[in-house]
């Protein structure tokens, strides 16, 4: 063999990559990345047959899927916030960049998998376990990856339906576990930064009038699931 050096270089790279791969797998970040999930993201899932056994990939899942859970966090890179609430097979998610882009997404959950839509082209695909929800969300032409930890009140998802200049409007807020919050106020024609929410009191002042904010949590069952 002539010049073995370059081969050792490649081999070292492969060994390093394998080591990182094992470390990734061992730290449990694969909990929601089973092969079953990979198959279900690109193509619409086949219609379920009631007699079909659960997919084998679910056996490998180290964590049980919580029936009810709330999550709040930020997308990778920090450009937007995401909150997901799960309750008994249904999920509500809200993604919001605090400026213009927002989406309310909903849908059913299957075996810890989320496949949520907002009816306007927005989607959220991912999975959750007792500690985190992770996935990919597309809204307003942007796509983000995210991993969000569980949220405990006052952190979590809130919504309100105030009137602005006599017209119906909608506000969504995400309160992070560190207390920071983002929200968007959407009227008939515009979306703007939402006014500050007092999560403890569950209220905000919109267009000069006090508004009650509704907490959406899967744990306590508030919000329409």
């Amino acid at each position: 063999m002539k010049h073995p050096g370059p081969l050792f270089t490649l081999l070292a790279g492969v060994v390093l990559a394998a080591g990182i791969g094992i470390a990734n797998a061992a730290t449990g970040t694969t909990a929601t990345s089973g092969s079953a999930g990979a198959a279900s993201t690109s193509a619409p899932p086949p219609p379920p047959t009631s007699s079909a056994p659960p997919p084998p990939a679910s056996i490998a899942k180290p964590n049980p899927v919580p029936p009810r859970a709330d999550y709040a966090g930020r997308v990778d890179g920090g450009g937007a916030s995401v909150a997901v609430s799960v309750r008994d097979g249904h999920a509500i998610a809200y993604v919001c960049d605090g400026k213009k882009v927002e989406a309310w997404l909903g849908g059913v959950t299957t075996d810890g998998r989320l496949d949520l839509k907002d009816g306007k082209g927005g989607t959220l695909v991912g999975g959750y376990d007792p500690a985190t929800v992770t996935g990919t969300v597309t809204a307003g032409g942007k796509t983000w990856h995210f991993t969000a930890p569980t949220a405990k009140k006052p952190a979590g998802l809130y919504r309100a339906t105030p009137k602005v200049r006599g017209k119906a409007a909608k506000v969504g807020w995400i309160v992070q576990s560190d207390g920071s919050q983002v929200g968007i106020l959407t009227t008939e024609d515009t979306s703007t930064d939402a006014p500050a929410l007092d999560p403890a009191a569950g209220s905000a002042t919109v267009d000069g009038a006090p508004v009650t904010a509704e907490s959406i949590t899967g744990l306590s069952g508030d919000g329409d699931f």
């Binding site: 002539k2 270089t9 791969g21």
Partner: protein
Amino acid sequence: MTAPATRSGTAGLLVPLLVGGVVAVVLGVYGSVHQPTGVAVNIAGFSSGQSVKAWLASVVVLLAVVQLISALAMYGKLGGEAPSWVSPLHRWSGRLAFLVSIPVAMHCLYALGFQSFDTRVLVHSLLGCFFYGIFVCKMLLLRRDDTAPWVLPVVGGLAFTVLVGLWLSAALWFFTTFGVIF
């Protein structure tokens, strides 16, 4: 009759190019079918996986500049004969650059995957797959003595160009979008 001792300088290109092509395609396919996890092993002290990547990638680009300059010296383009330490410098800075790039690429592949939701991301995904293909090709070419003299500079130059493209489409974007943060 065995094969003639002096083959045409391009015949030896075939296998390295093929292997490199396979590597690039396999990376792309894996990145596409693997469900991105959004997270991967992080290094302590950094705010996010992305900032780790941006800094590691910057180290790689810096080493790649060393690669370019030392290669120019080895080919006598900087005037005169290169000192004897230039070749080892080229070899080892290249190895280091390759190894430092691995965690970055693993995070890309494992946590983010091959994506095409905007031009920057598509370009970055394509370049990323291409880079490891051309790198493997270059490593295999280094083991041959029968390639035409222009082959290594072209392949090495491609690797350098693609790497800079990768850095521009991700690390520079990261620093300009989120600021120079750790």
